[in-house]
């Protein structure tokens, strides 16, 4: 446009500089501190410039903390959350959009409602369920009186027990029980031309063929977006892994990192090492963002519609 927008452009540049500094500042300080020695930190506090101890600090993280094994847990958790969310959401959205089922709307509403109450709010009772995933079944048997019947016949009521706490399954499953992915795929399916479906039917494709031959290849981008999104959110989860895993070896890296700052110990926290751990813990998701930023943005934008 011809008009002179210099003042605005200068203001915009300044704002962006401020924004970038705000975002990068803490990250830089983290890196700088992570590369200084503990003694340096004791003397000077926060490090404004990088030092040389980054790798020795990192080496200590690997030698002295549970972070390495916890990174493996994080990787497993985040990857499983992402892959299962992608698959289950894809299948459920497929059922909702492409099949004549009278209760499709109800099913979708039930799935979508999960967006409203995040896991953090219902953590106490979710924990309870995770401690015995059969508890609803038991309760049902009790309430319906079936158990009395069973007790009369077999001598004892049915009490099924299966705790998923402190297992990878337990870390993952409640995070997958979420509707965002279904929503995302549903939106995507709705943007596909209906004629594509009809064409496939004319060509003789049934539900399974249509799913694999047409829908799946076309949904690749959505898959990537959702995968990145859920991977990141799986990696960065805090409260759930905090409560669901009770041994350090089952905990995720983010929880392990937070635990590095001692509650009430005599020592001054070893911030250089903690910051080195922060760097290590964040490196995978950050690399992921750097590489797949495009998909992430697509994923975020898609959720709008």
């Amino acid at each position: 446009m011809i008009e002179n927008a210099r003042s605005l452009n200068i203001a915009a540049s300044l704002i962006l500089v401020a924004g970038i500094v705000y975002i990068l500042g803490p990250l830089y300080l983290t890196l700088a501190t992570a590369s200084q020695s503990f003694e340096f930190m004791l003397r000077n506090g926060l490090a404004w410039y990088p030092g040389t101890a980054l790798f020795s600090n990192m080496a200590r993280v690997f030698a002295e903390t549970h972070i390495p094994i916890q990174m493996v847990n994080s990787m497993l958790t985040a990857f499983s959350v992402a892959i299962f969310t992608c698959i289950l959401s894809f299948l459920s959205a497929y059922a909702i959009v492409y099949f004549r089922i009278r209760w499709a709307g109800v099913a979708f509403a039930l799935i979508l409602a999960t967006i409203m109450l995040p896991l953090d709010i219902r953590v106490i009772t979710t924990y309870q369920v995770a401690s015995n995933v059969f508890s609803p079944v038991n309760a049902l048997l009790d309430v319906t009186g079936l158990n009395d019947l069973i007790a009369n016949i077999f001598g004892a009521p049915v009490k099924l027990e299966w705790s998923v706490l402190n297992t990878h399954l337990g870390l993952v499953a409640p995070l997958v029980a979420h509707g965002t992915g279904t929503f995302l795929f549903r939106q995507f399916f709705l943007t596909l031309p209906k004629d594509l479906f009809k064409a496939a039917r004319m060509d003789g494709a049934g539900p399974i063929r249509f799913l694999f031959d047409i829908l799946l290849p076309l949904a690749r981008t959505s898959f990537a977006a959702l995968f990145v999104l859920t991977f990141l959110s799986g990696w960065t989860q805090y409260l759930w892994p905090l409560v669901a895993a009770s041994t350090p070896d089952m905990q995720t890296a983010v929880v392990g990192l937070a635990r590095l700052v001692p509650d009430a110990d005599g020592a001054v926290p070893d911030f250089p090492m903690i910051m080195a751990a922060t760097v290590i813990v964040s490196i995978i998701p950050l690399a992921m963002i750097a590489l797949l930023q495009r998909y992430l943005v697509q994923g975020l934008v898609l959720t709008e519609k």
Binding site: S131, L165, P262, A264, G266
Partner: protein, 414 residues
């Protein structure tokens, strides 16, 4: 059998516990123990409760003093006296027994890393400021603090205002009740009374002294944590658990000279015993015979005087059986610094006892500790007066007690 043991300590103590576990595993081959650190006493207890509900709990768990009543009524633990009927339980030091035994005199848990509150000074700094005699009373501490301040010392005395330190241990050694019914020993219907005792005055003093720059809170310090502030030399005096002794010694590392003594009294008050602190080991219900056998073996192992001695020397925690002092004496290493806390700690716990200084038997007490901290922190921040803070804490604490009472309706104190 393979058994698991959960504990809450970190740092020096954690290292010592892990060493002890390793020693146990290498000392015999019948059992194997895995010791899992949970990060803190509170978290350890949370996890234990959660795990127990999920039937996922280990056979041995370390619980801290504050959880005693919750555990006694939980129906989740087997009293150690029942598990190990043949052990000579009266060999355990009186202070620990008083805290962990039922009204019938049955020990519920095996005392493990016992501590009590001690007074630490940085002798070097004190002497630099011209304080030659280590203070033993609050009056002396404040006088010394004044001198330190005058000589330009930024942080004469440091505390974190923790409930255990400023309320429980203070009340005990001054012979003051914390709650009615002898701190709950005589029934679930106890009520808090600390807001009416001398402890209120002491806490008000702390607020005033902080304003004068004589006392600092851990958050006021550069280190951000009161023990660290003392250990780095930033602060000259503190009252802290014997369990942190070794860490402090290591931190001083010849740079400063340190003294430990009994926690300070106010002049004109008769000294009573301090409570046992730290934690003890519980045997959880719901495990196989073999696992119980393993648990028993471990409990026997850690009771061994030799083990206790090395644990004490590694951490500063106090021995829990009476025969250990003799063993230390025999070892010829009776002098500080290695066992410095043992004698003074046991001495402190063996001061004259009243029915109000047996221990604390109050429900949801862990939560109460938080309530107390929350309210007094507001007083330190100047948002309310200390008296209001204590009144609030009492009110909220009583609500906890009433809820506990209701929750365990029909269950009687043993």
């Amino acid at each position: 059998a393979n058994i698991e043991f959960w504990y809450g300590n970190t740092g020096v103590a954690e290292t010592a516990i892990q060493a002890e576990c390793a020693a146990f595993n290498s000392a015999q081959s019948a059992h194997h123990i895995t010791c899992v650190g949970q990060g803190s006493y509170e978290v350890s207890m949370q996890k234990a409760i959660a795990a127990f509900r999920a039937k996922n709990h280990p056979v041995l768990i370390q619980f801290f003093d504050a959880g005693t009543l919750d555990l006694m009524l939980s129906d989740a633990v087997e009293p150690v006296e029942d598990v190990l009927p043949d052990v000579k339980w009266d060999n355990y030091i009186a202070g620990a027994r008083a805290y962990y035994e039922t009204s019938g005199g049955k020990l519920f848990a095996q005392p493990y890393n016992a501590s009590t509150l001690l007074f630490y000074t940085n002798k070097t700094e004190l002497e630099k400021a011209g304080v030659m005699k280590t203070p033993t009373t609050w009056e002396e501490i404040i006088a010394a603090a004044g001198k330190l301040k005058a000589s330009g010392h930024a942080c004469p005395f440091v505390t974190d205002g923790d409930t255990w330190r400023v309320l429980e241990q203070f009340s005990a050694r001054h012979g003051l009740p914390i709650a009615s019914k002898h701190n709950g020993y005589d029934g679930l219907d106890a009520e808090y009374v600390f807001n009416t005792t001398f402890v209120a005055k002491h806490l008000q003093n702390l607020v005033d002294w902080r304003k004068e720059g004589l006392v600092r809170l851990g958050t006021d310090t550069k280190a951000g944590n009161f023990t660290a502030a003392f250990n780095t030399g930033e602060c000259a005096m503190m009252e802290n658990s014997s369990g942190s002794y070794t860490a402090s010694v290591k931190a001083f590392d010849g740079k400063y000279e340190m003294s430990v003594g009994m926690a300070p009294m106010y002049e004109g008050h008769e000294r009573h015993n301090t409570f046992v602190g730290g934690a003890s080991i519980y045997v959880m219900k719901g495990h196989s015979k073999a696992e119980i056998e393993g648990a028993k073996a471990f409990l026997d192992f850690v009771r061994d005087p030799k083990q206790q001695m090395s644990f004490t020397s590694a951490t500063g925690y106090v021995p829990v059986t009476n025969d250990v002092m003799e063993a230390i004496a025999k070892s010829g290493e009776a002098n500080p610094p290695k066992y410095a806390t043992a004698a003074v700690g046991i001495d402190s716990m063996n001061q004259p006892r009243t029915p109000d200084t047996r221990g604390i038997r109050l429900g949801f007490y862990v939560q109460f500790r938080q309530v107390f901290m929350e309210e007094t922190q507001k007083a330190f921040a100047g948002e309310q007066t200390m008296q209001v803070a204590l009144d609030n804490a009492k009110k909220r604490g009583d609500e906890l007690l009433r809820r506990f009472e209701q929750t365990y309706k029909g269950v009687t104190l043993r």
